[in-house]
Structures are given as structure tokens and as C-alpha cells.
């Protein structure tokens, strides 16, 4: 009975609870798993998907001369000039020095301020392995390696052994923590539409618009008011109609949910303080500003946990990877800097952790114009709780005979996505005993009962 009710609550596909049922969801959330940790102050995770497969071996690269020489040998016409790089002051644990793409000036400064960390060579895995085992056929590897659709899905579902997963780890966290949507709005908010990361069995993302006040409603067309007709209200009447057809019902629920929640979204964004930070005039910065506004106005929602999803696409650079990264990485760098600054104005920077995901890195070797689909890649985590100024994980030693190279400079990940996300999930308030539910394959890479952190990049 309960589960049926609960199912109905969320079946609107908007992550929105109908008013009558939201109390039930709240009750269930309390009985189920709201723990001491989730009752704490506000926390938010911001997931940035660099869709298409960012060539991150040109985002974070070796600076020591010997490894840089290997890098140029392998990357050939895709290598960046050594004197263009932005060196990082801190040596990593392996005693090596690394540098950033020349377009990452702000990111370097945030890193030096210890508010940002890099995680090296992360990727989807079924088990730890290397190139020899893969060649010998003795290793199990994720399905659809190198396929955009599969790898984008697996970075979000964290299930790499089938293609039937329809939930992501952000959705599973929301299922556990529960959105307690007194406001009727999901705790998972997307700037980029439907996505797997934020979809759970009971929760799906609520999409807000990256411009304006985030939401609109069905217009009432005042020319009919003299007839006493408010079109908006007639539409509401239409949405009350029962339909035999399942698709008709789903469509009505979506439109109804969007109309019901419009005011909530607008009020939230409008109640955010104005920022002194000025955001760049592009989609990425505008979307980050919108996230900052939701966080700034979050008191109207009464939620103490939120996730945000922002997709920034266009990284599939089979062609022109140098030119395009030179245009696009600075957008990321400036956007992150602006976002940090706005969150600092709000005093929320310590409560918000921002992290990147991407389909894969790319072949280190060139196809003569750009690079093809790879596997393990490098990622960023930013926030006040991040132990920044560090490089976590293992940056592969670059070599044409690397034991990690499965061909064309595609490197087997040296860290699975599971521990990367486990660190974020634990910080977010997921209890260790619930990690298996959020990250089903976590035990292949990390014991939830361990006293050590999965990776260590968060306080």
C-alpha cells in the first residue's frame, strides 16, 4: 500500500509530488533513512557533464621534462607547447609535477587556493585491471567501451555491466535521503533536462531554465478575459481529464506538474540575493548562475540536500581538438571561478561540492586531425570542503609501452568511478551502510566499512 502510494507520488515524471501525496513521501523519508548526518545543515552536489568526451590528457598533463617528452612523442600533432602550460606549484605524491592547459588560468588559481583538486585517470571499470589482462581476455570490462551513449550512461548510472539501468547514483541518493518536498519540488534539479544521474526509482529531475526566473507557466492570453475566460485555468481543467491511454495520462501529469511548480521555482530564484559577481555571457556561466540563485533562495524550498546537473556538450573532438579546447576550456575555467565567487558571497561555498564527469578521455594518439574515444580521464572537484591543491589517484606514466595502454594511447583507468563518487556520496550524507544501494559495485574497489576515505579529497 505504501509503496503503491509512493509510486504514484512520483510517477509524474517531474520529480514533483502532488500536494495530496507529498506528506506521505515526507513521512516515508523520515521513517526510512533520514539520518543524523542528513539532518545537518545544507549540502549540495553540482554535477558538470562535459559531454562528448573531454580530451583531459590535454587539460592536465605532465610538466617534468622526461614525461613531457613522452607526451609529445605520443600525442604528435596534438601536443601542447611546454612553455604555454600553466604549471601547478604542488608536486603530486609520485614526486612529479603537472601543468594545466593554458586556458585554465582561473582553475589554476582556485587550485592554488586549495579549493579545487584533480582526480587522475578515473573511468568505468568492472574490476581493477590492465592492458595485458584485457588482451589476454582474462579481464572483465564495461560494456560499450568507447561508445558515447554507453559511457555517458555508465558515468551516471555507475552500472557498467548492463544496458538496462534506468537510474543514476544521484537519483538513488535522492531515493534514500528523500526529497522531503514540502515545496513539491524534487531535490534533484537539472539545468539540462532529463538525465540519468538524477533519476531514481521514485525521483526524477526537475528541469529549470538557464535564463530568466527559471520557469514559465501556460499563458492566460488576456484578450479573452472580457469573456471571462482565463485560458490558463481552462488548461488546468483539461489536465483534470481522465484518460484511458497511458501516454495521454503521462503527458497531462507533466504539464500539470510544471504548472504547479512554476511559482515555487520563480519565488526561489527571486528570493536569492543579487550577486556582485558578474557572470560571463554564455550558457555555461548562465546556468551556473542559475544554480547559485537556487542555492541563494533555497530557504523557500526547505530542502537541506540538493543535487544539480549541468551538461556542457561539444567535446567530441575527432577534429580540431586543439582549437576547440582553446575556446571551450576557458569557458569552464571562468564559469567555475564565477560560481565559486557567487557561492562565497552567499556563504555557501563550503556547502557545495562541484565535480566533473565526461564520457571518457580520448586517444593519446592522433587521427591526424583530432583524437578518438578513449577511456580513463582526469576530473576536477571544487568546493570549500575539498582538500584542494592536490592531485588524487594515479596519473599514468606516459609511455608507448605503458602496461595500461590498450592501443592508440587509450589508458585503462587507475581509479574506478565508484570510489570517486563514494567520496562525494559520503560527504553528501549517505551512510556507509547505504553505499551499496547508491553504488552497487562499490565493494569491488572500496570497503564501505573501511575507516579510510574512498579517495580522500573531501573533508
Amino acid at each position: 500500500m505504501f509503496s503503491r502510494r509512493r509510486f504514484l507520488t512520483h510517477s509524474c515524471g517531474l520529480g514533483v509530488a502532488a500536494a495530496t501525496a507529498s506528506t506521505t513521501a515526507l513521512t516515508l523519508g523520515l521513517t526510512r533513512s533520514v539520518s543524523a548526518s542528513t539532518a545537518d545543515g545544507y549540502k549540495a552536489l553540482v554535477c558538470i557533464l562535459l559531454a562528448g568526451g573531454n580530451d583531459s590528457y590535454n587539460m592536465l598533463l605532465p610538466y617534468d621534462q622526461d614525461q613531457y617528452d613522452e607526451y609529445t612523442k605520443i600525442r604528435s600533432d596534438l601536443a601542447l607547447e611546454h612553455d604555454s602550460l600553466l604549471p601547478l606549484s604542488n608536486q603530486s605524491e609520485d614526486g612529479r609535477s603537472y601543468a594545466l592547459h593554458p586556458g585554465f588560468d582561473e582553475v589554476r588559481q582556485i587550485y592554488e587556493a586549495r579549493d579545487l583538486a584533480f582526480i587522475a585517470n578515473v573511468g568505468t571499470l568492472l574490476e581493477p585491471t590492465d592492458a595485458d589482462a584485457i588482451r589476454a581476455g582474462s579481464a572483465r570490462v564495461p560494456i560499450g567501451l568507447g561508445s558515447h551513449s554507453d559511457q555517458i550512461a555508465q558515468w551516471q548510472s555507475v552500472i557498467s555491466y548492463n544496458r538496462t539501468s534506468s537510474y543514476g547514483w544521484g537519483g538513488r541518493m535522492a531515493d534514500l535521503i528523500d526529497p522531503n518536498p514540502a515545496s513539491g519540488l524534487s531535490m534533484n534539479i537539472s539545468l539540462s533536462g532529463t538525465n540519468l544521474f538524477q533519476t531514481g526509482s521514485h525521483v526524477s529531475p526537475y528541469t529549470i531554465y538557464y535564463q530568466g526566473d527559471g520557469a514559465n507557466t501556460v499563458w492566460s492570453f488576456p484578450q479573452f478575459w472580457s469573456n471571462g475566460i482565463n485560458v490558463h485555468n481552462v488548461v488546468r481543467d483539461l489536465l483534470g481529464v481522465d484518460h484511458d491511454n497511458m501516454l495521454r495520462r503521462e503527458y497531462a501529469r507533466r504539464l500539470q506538474g510544471a504548472m504547479d511548480n512554476r511559482d515555487t521555482v520563480v519565488n526561489t530564484l527571486r528570493s536569492s540575493p543579487e550577486f556582485e559577481t558578474s557572470f560571463s555571457d554564455n550558457y555555461f556561466s548562465a546556468a551556473l548562475k542559475q544554480i547559485a540563485r537556487v542555492i541563494g533562495g533555497r530557504h523557500t524550498l526547505g530542502q537541506n540536500r540538493q543535487t544539480f546537473f549541468l551538461q556542457f556538450g561539444g567535446w567530441d573532438h575527432h577534429e580540431g581538438v586543439l582549437d576547440y579546447q582553446a575556446l571551450m576550456l576557458p569557458i569552464v575555467s571562468k564559469g567555475l571561478d564565477e560560481f565559486r565567487s557567487a557561492l562565497q558571497e552567499l556563504g555557501e561555498f563550503g556547502n557545495v561540492t562541484t565535480f566533473t564527469i565526461s564520457d571518457f578521455a580520448r586517444t593519446l594518439t592522433s587521427n591526424g586531425k583530432g583524437s578518438d574515444h578513449g577511456w580513463g580521464g582526469h576530473h576536477m572537484v571544487m568546493g570549500g570542503d575539498v582538500r584542494g591543491g592536490e592531485l588524487y589517484g594515479t596519473y599514468p606514466e606516459l609511455s608507448q609501452s605503458s602496461p595500461l595502454d590498450i592501443g592508440r594511447g587509450v589508458y585503462v583507468p587507475t581509479m574506478a568511478v565508484e570510489p570517486y563518487f563514494a567520496e562525494l556520496a559520503l560527504w553528501f550524507g549517505v551512510e556507509r551502510g547505504n553505499l551499496d544501494e547508491v553504488l552497487p559495485a562499490i565493494r569491488k574497489f572500496y570497503s564501505p566499512s573501511s575507516s579510510d576515505a574512498p579517495v580522500g579529497f573531501l573533508v
Binding site: I74, S149, R163, I208, N227, M246, R254, H318, G407
Partner: protein
């Protein structure tokens, strides 16, 4: 009359419409009265079935055209459509580019790309709104969601010939053969740019350079066979361990990538590596790509299912062999046909429906393998596609772009100049969708997207819901409102110098003298007789409060267009 009509159906198309006629008895004829070319009156049921075909196989037709289908007979009308030669899009682009280059419009002197960037879209709207080959245009659009290129890539948008000539390939082959379609798409310069197999060089090991795998992967995953071996009914084959059987692996991709080397753009002055096109000649983006043998990988290539292409063949021979390798793969029928069924008819075709169409694709009814006419007839004249066989899980959500084109066509958007140019910017802004502008080669939505809730609980899919979120579901509703209440806002164009077409509701204003008649008519044209009683009551209640016929017509049209009854074609 009815008997005559039934006989005609039996003779011409061989497909029974008995059900429809039986259903029509007692409904009363409403098509009579006007001058009638065939001396045949049609039943409401026949009109509804005709409207159904119009809605599945075209971008939407006026009542008069629906009536014509009913009178002609659905099968015969469809056969006639198959014989109309294509209305290509490139001539529109050529005309506009020529006029712009001749300095016809000083409005764009300061920023020529304001116009240049939307000429491809102008061509799409002009022809989609006006062409007589209405089925071919609609099928080409469905194909553009299988073979995906996107004008989100700046070079493709700046060079309108790239998009129009790609679309012309789809139009040209829409009633041809799938093998030709696959080959022409492969050699299309827009696709060469989009999936980067243009200027794809053979390996240069000493420089650590290897063939680009982009097209090789997607031509298998998306354009022909898909990821897993399929049964004829579209279900996934399982091995002895109960696991799906992948159709290819990474080695196959590397081998396939070798095949697609050596291609570059054609046209006068062509050279290997030509890759910067600020303002390219028509030839660069409208001629099929050509082979530079020096850049083609020479050795043998191991294709799928044990086929080996010997060393030393010419590049084009290799490509022909690879196209054959894919075309004769048993997956193509169920994989491709399911896509077309989902785009034109229903999100969840039964396995038996897929199998019937796949068998038609495979040539079991006597036509050649891959014959598109046979496939389309199998899809659209299947009992499952017609009005009677429907269940509570049948149907598809109409995508925003199709909804807006449909209303503009059905409600007679017209312009004195004959111009139907549209930048598409408003549509895109409000609904998140514009034709030929998908975010990636994976199209606007995935074929297996299943919204959480009762749809996923019933193991069903509804791809179009992937782009139907809180923002876009409001956006499409308001875009419909603008298009109806503000008369010309289905279109956005640079005006001046161009004219924005306007809605023309004269017929509906006349009907609106009698609200019942108005809603009856709209029920045929928009919902094929399936407007639900409560929806109808709400609309009627509104109409009773309005005296102006024009306002009645607008309100009735708007309310039905934004209702679930219309948004879902079930």
C-alpha cells in the same frame, strides 16, 4: 455508396478497411454537400482513417486534403504519393544565396551571416510547408532522426548547402532502397564533416597517427545494425549464458575505420585536407565525397561476420564492400524498421508488428531487400497502425517540431509572397527542438527512453518524453498559443525583407457558427474521432461563452491542440 467505396479499397490497395466502414455505419455522413470529384460520399469513419494516415505519414493536412484521401482511398492515395518526384531543398538555398550574393538585401550587409546561417532552415520550412510530396517530406524527416547530422555544428550552419544536400539525399532515397540510402549518407559531405570521416587518413605509424573511428563506430551502432544481435521481431538474441550478443567489438571498429579512409570533399580545386569553409562553394557540400587513394588504407580489412576485404582494392571498392557487409546483416531489418515505426506510428510496436515489417524489409513479399516503399506500406498499412487495433499503451507523443509544422499546415498558414521562411529560433527556444539540430548523433531522444512512473513500471518506452520536461512542456504549449492567438508566431523570420506567413481560419470561422460542428470537424482533423468526452465538454463550455466566431475557432483549436488527446496520437 459505401459498398462501392469498400470495393474500391479492396481492388486498389488490397488492404481491408472493412472495420472502418462498419464503424462508420450510424455515424452519419458529413462529407457530402460540396462538389465531389469522385461522386463518392465518405463516412466519418473513413475521414478519421484518412486523417490517421495524414497524421502518421505527413506533417499534417488540411480537412480538404483529408477528405481527398478518403475519397481517393487511402491505398490509392498513398500509391500516388509514392510516384511524386522529390521536392528538393537545395534549390531554395541556391536561390537565397544567389540573391544575397547579388546584394539584394541591404538588411544583411553589416552581418551577412545573420541570413546565411538560417538559409538551410529557410529551405527546410519552405519545402516542408509547400511541397506536394507530403509523404516523402515526412519520411525524410523521420530518416533525419536515424541518420543524424546537426546544424549545431557551426560549419554546417554557415554552409546551407551542407544541410540541404544532406536532406536531399534522404528525400531522394526515401522511396528507394536502404542500401543506396546508407551509401549516399556515408558519402555525404555533411556527414563526412559531422562524423569526421572526411579527410580521414590511413595510418601514419611513424607519426603515431591512426584512422579516425568516429564514423566507423556510429555507422554500425546507429545507422545500420545496432549494438546487439536481434531477432526478426526486434527482441535481443541471447547466448547460452542468457547474455546479449554484441554485434561488433573494438577490433571490428578499428578494421571498419580503415575502410572509411581517403575520402575528402569534391568539387573544383579539391585537394586532400581541405577543411576550412567559411563560405564554401555549393559543390563542396553538395557533391558526394571523393576518394584519394593515396590516403586510403591499403591492407586487407576484416569486416563483420567473417567477411574479409582483400588488400589492394580501390578505396571505393572497399566502401562498397563495407556497405554490403552492413546492409546484408540480419539486424538491419528489425533495427531500422523499429526506428521508423517509432517515429511514424507508435513508441511500443508489438514484436509481431516489427517482425511483419522486418520481413517486408528482407524482401519476403517479393520486392528487393531494403525496398523503402515496401517497408513504408508495411508500417503504415499494418492493422496495428490503424485506428481500430489500439490499446491503452498504444501511440506516441508528437514531437514539438512536428506539432508546430502540423498546425501551420492544417490551419492554412499562408503568405502573399509564398514565403515560408523560418529561422526556427523561437521554436527552438521554447521547445528545445528544431529539425536537423539534434544535440548529438544520438538524436533528440533515445529509442529506449522510459519515463519513471507507470510507463517504466509497464516496461514501456516513450522516447519523445525525454525532451518533455517542466521547461519544454510549458514551452510547447505556449508556442502553440502564440501560433494560434497571435496568428503568425509559428514562424520567426527576418521581416523585412521577408514576409511572415499568417494563419487562415476562414473555414473554421464559418463552422464556428455552430460550435458542435466546429468541434466535430476538429475531432476529425486533429484527433481522428478520439477526442474524449470530458475534453470535448470543456471545449464546448468555453465556446458557449464566446460570441465571436473567430475567437471560438481560435479557442477550440488551441485547446484541442494542447490537450493530451491531441498531444498523444493513440
Amino acid at each position: 455508396m459505401r459498398v462501392l467505396h469498400l470495393l474500391k479499397h479492396l481492388c486498389v490497395g488490397g488492404v481491408l478497411v472493412t472495420g472502418a466502414v462498419v464503424n462508420g455505419i450510424g455515424d452519419g455522413d458529413i462529407g457530402g454537400g460540396s462538389g465531389d470529384d469522385f461522386g463518392v460520399t465518405v463516412t466519418k469513419a473513413e475521414l478519421n482513417e484518412a486523417s490517421r494516415l495524414a497524421s502518421q505519414a505527413t506533417f499534417g493536412l488540411t480537412y480538404e486534403s483529408i477528405e481527398e484521401i478518403a475519397k481517393t482511398g487511402r491505398n490509392r492515395w498513398f500509391e500516388q504519393q509514392l510516384e511524386i518526384s522529390p521536392t528538393f531543398h537545395t534549390p531554395i538555398a541556391r536561390d537565397l544565396i544567389t540573391r544575397q550574393d547579388a546584394g539584394e538585401w541591404e538588411e544583411f550587409d553589416d552581418n551577412p551571416f545573420l541570413l546565411r546561417n538560417v538559409i538551410g532552415r529557410f529551405a527546410w520550412w519552405q519545402q516542408t510547408m509547400t511541397a506536394e510530396d507530403v509523404v516523402r517530406q515526412r519520411v525524410a524527416y523521420a530518416l533525419s532522426q536515424f541518420f543524424v547530422v546537426s546544424d549545431r555544428v557551426g560549419v554546417l550552419r554557415n554552409n546551407p548547402y551542407s544541410m540541404t544536400s544532406f536532406y536531399d539525399v534522404l528525400l531522394d532515397n526515401a522511396f528507394g532502397n536502404f542500401r543506396d540510402l546508407l551509401k549516399d549518407v556515408t558519402l555525404s559531405p555533411a556527414m563526412g564533416l559531422y562524423l569526421s570521416h572526411a579527410n580521414n587518413s590511413k595510418a601514419i605509424p611513424e607519426r603515431n597517427i591512426f584512422p579516425d573511428q568516429n564514423f566507423a563506430r556510429e555507422v554500425m551502432q546507429l545507422f545500420s545494425i545496432g549494438l546487439y544481435e536481434l531477432n526478426l521481431d526486434g527482441s535481443v538474441k541471447l547466448d547460452s549464458d542468457g547474455l546479449p550478443i554484441p554485434t561488433y567489438d573494438n577490433n571490428d571498429i578499428q578494421e571498419m575505420a580503415k575502410v572509411f579512409t581517403g575520402l575528402t570533399y569534391a568539387g573544383p580545386g579539391n585537394y586532400w585536407g581541405r577543411n576550412y569553409f567559411h563560405h564554401a562553394d555549393e559543390s563542396v557540400f553538395s557533391l558526394p565525397m571523393i576518394m584519394y587513394e593515396n590516403y586510403h588504407e591499403e591492407g586487407e580489412k576484416k569486416l563483420l561476420n567473417g567477411v574479409v576485404v582483400p588488400a589492394g582494392q580501390s578505396g571505393m571498392q572497399d566502401i562498397e564492400a563495407a556497405i554490403d557487409n552492413l546492409f546484408y546483416h540480419p539486424n538491419v531489418g528489425p533495427f531500422f524498421c523499429k526506428h521508423l515505426i517509432q517515429r511514424l506510428v507508435t513508441s511500443n510496436p508489438s514484436p509481431a508488428y516489427i517482425e511483419r515489417v522486418a520481413r517486408a524489409f528482407n524482401g519476403e513479399s517479393g520486392s528487393p531487400r531494403g525496398d523503402m516503399k515496401t517497408v513504408l506500406k508495411a508500417i503504415l498499412f499494418d492493422p496495428e497502425a490503424e485506428l481500430l487495433g489500439n490499446t491503452a499503451t498504444f501511440g506516441r507523443l508528437k514531437e514539438p517540431a512536428v506539432r508546430i509544422v502540423a498546425l501551420a499546415r492544417i490551419f492554412n498558414y499562408t503568405s502573399d509572397s509564398g514565403e515560408y521562411y523560418n529561422t526556427g529560433y523561437r521554436l527552438e527556444y521554447m521547445t528545445g527542438q528544431h529539425p536537423l539540430s539534434a544535440p548529438s548523433v544520438f538524436n533528440f531522444y533515445q529509442p529506449n527512453y522510459s519515463p519513471i512512473g507507470e510507463i517504466s513500471a509497464n516496461q514501456m518506452v516513450a522516447p519523445e518524453f525525454q525532451i518533455t520536461n517542466a521547461t519544454t512542456v510549458i514551452g510547447v504549449t505556449n508556442q502553440v498559443g502564440l501560433a494560434i492567438f497571435y496568428e503568425n508566431l509559428a514562424f520567426h523570420t527576418w521581416n523585412p525583407p521577408f514576409e511572415t506567413p499568417r494563419i487562415n481560419l476562414i473555414d473554421y470561422e464559418e463552422l464556428a457558427a455552430d460550435p458542435e460542428a466546429l468541434v466535430d470537424r476538429l475531432d476529425i482533423v486533429l484527433t481522428q474521432g478520439k477526442l474524449s468526452r470530458p475534453t470535448r465538454d470543456i471545449v464546448m463550455d468555453v465556446l458557449d461563452r464566446v460570441d465571436s466566431r473567430r475567437e471560438r475557432a481560435m479557442l477550440a483549436i488551441y485547446l484541442i491542440l494542447i490537450s493530451s488527446d491531441y498531444s498523444i496520437e493513440d
